[in-house]
Amino acid sequence: MNSRRVWAILRFVLTTLFLYFVWVLFTSDLGLFSLLFGLAASVMTAALTYHIFLPEHEANLRFFTPHFWALIRFLFLMVFSLYQSSFQVVKAVISGNTNPRIVHFRTRLRSDLARTVLANAITFTPGTMTLDLNDDHLTVHWLLCSTTHTKAAGEAIKTKLEHALGRTWL
């Protein structure tokens, strides 16, 4: 058995486990029929979709299995910054002081999942919204812009999030 095949089986098993977990969570029914039916459905769905759910080039377990405490910490950070950023937008709505600009920068996160989560989290940071994510290149609309310099803008927007995410995924 070559490593490609082992990796495919591992991805299949992980997809099945994830689907089964969500099934049990949603049905919240521990009867025998429900458990067996869910398992069969998870295996079938995973067999069809595991190569989409976990693409082959994501060749490291740490690319999509989060570090638990770092994930919890990141979620709290997100909720906090969600309220903070909404408050700033409300302030901008009332006062009318905005300086909208579009800035570009790169991220150093390596896995697709972490980059996607970073792009979503940037939408929650004060006054920024992700327009496009292309490999490691982010296009961000910044409502309360203070600089258009790539490096400075990147520092201001993503440093904190990237640190928290770098601990969660690779």
């Binding site: 949603f26 300086n99 909208p100 919204m129 327009l131 496009d132 609309h141």
Partner: protein, 109 residues
């Protein structure tokens, strides 16, 4: 029990506050990105607050867990949706005109 209801009421009020100001921003800003910004961000916070209130009022652990799942999926789907809309504005012809107008005026309002 009563403390839970008061906390839920506070969360509902916070959600309504952000929802109303998001709507005001939607009509007050001038360029499409800022409008999308106000609408999507304040809308997300409003729905998030409502879901937190529902979580506080959940009668049992099972329904509470479902509300929590909805909350997490909403946190994933809402910014994805707004960023897809933003991407289409970014790529459309209309936005090019808007962008040059933005550069000229320097202020959106």
């Amino acid at each position: 029990m009563i403390i839970r209801e008061i906390l839920a009421l506070i969360a509902f009020l916070v959600g309504t506050f952000f929802g109303i100001f998001g709507m005001v921003g939607l009509f007050r800003f001038r360029d499409p990105y800022s409008r999308l910004h106000a609408g999507s961000l304040c809308g997300t916070t409003a729905v998030f607050s409502y879901l937190v209130a529902l979580l506080l009022l959940a009668p049992s652990l099972a329904s509470g867990a479902r509300v929590f799942i909805i909350l997490v999926f909403f946190l994933i789907s809402a910014p994805t949706g707004s960023s897809i809309v933003g991407k289409f504005i970014w790529e459309s012809e209309d936005a090019t005109r808007q962008r040059s107008a933005m550069k000229r005026e320097d202020k959106s309002l």
